[in-house]
């Protein structure tokens, strides 16, 4: 079964670490991407680089991010394939953001494109 593992990192949690500690955290994220269960993974650039697009009356309207002042920001995701939801949750708990004041959302993929 395929799951998306959505990473909501606490603002400033990584930045407040020393360079060496930041390296270690990034290494952990990277190590997770190499697990056999991982089908896809992306780290997103900071929320300041975001652009929101809406279409009204056929015209595209864009807004530059960030859009709200939130404690946690969507930082990236993994797409994994595992046998049980329990395994998906176990994977999610290893994502560094979980223990650094953030949280990870596990959601099954819908049947159809991507799945």
């Amino acid at each position: 079964m395929k799951y998306a593992v959505l990473i909501y990192a606490k603002q400033g949690a990584v930045e407040s670490l020393s360079d060496v500690e930041q390296e270690r955290v990034f290494d952990e994220y990277l190590a997770l991407t190499r697990e056999r269960a991982v089908l896809d993974s992306e780290q997103l650039q900071p929320v300041q680089t975001a652009t929101a697009v809406r279409v009204k009356d056929g015209r595209a309207l864009t807004t530059d991010g960030p859009f709200a002042d939130t404690k946690e920001v969507f930082a990236g995701f993994y797409v994994i394939e595992v046998d049980t939801q329990e395994q998906a949750i176990q994977f999610a708990a290893r994502v560094p953001a979980c223990r650094m004041g953030g949280s990870v959302e596990v959601r099954p993929l819908a049947a159809g494109w991507g799945a």
Partner: protein, 131 residues
């Protein structure tokens, strides 16, 4: 640095490709409110986007109610049913595109049906790394 496009053609040095994630935020109920024809048309558009040679990934997620949120506090794993954020803000799916510019990514994002159905598409460049 990417040297080949999604369709296999080599990139000339002038063409710098960046990868953009398009995060889809649906207005709750917006797709359910469509007629069968409108819904079929919307699905064709979603399909056309994933068939685009610039598309290098994507997935549709099940609704926010199916989510489990995980935190780790003092070494203990805590789980809660439901999404991290309230349903209005839940990500419904994503695409990954290779594009030469943000403008090109915006053009693609504007084609995602959610964007004209009261939702929005958030474009975020991804952090490049060796694959």
């Amino acid at each position: 640095m990417l040297t080949r496009r999604g369709d296999g053609k080599a990139i000339s040095p002038q063409e710098v490709q960046m990868r953009y994630a398009l995060l889809i935020y649906d207005k709750p109920g917006s797709h359910e409110a469509l007629s069968e024809e409108e819904l079929a048309a919307a699905y064709r558009e979603y399909g056309a986007l994933s068939d685009d040679s610039r598309c290098v990934g994507g997935a549709q997620l099940q609704p926010a109610e199916t989510a489990t949120t995980v935190r780790v506090d003092d070494g203990r794993m805590l789980t809660a049913d439901g999404p991290f954020a309230d349903t209005k803000e839940a990500v419904g799916g994503y695409y990954l595109f290779e594009a030469k510019s943000l403008d090109e990514a915006i053009e693609l994002a504007a084609r995602v049906p959610s964007a004209r159905l009261g939702g929005s598409v958030e474009i975020r460049p991804v952090v490049e790394r060796q694959r």
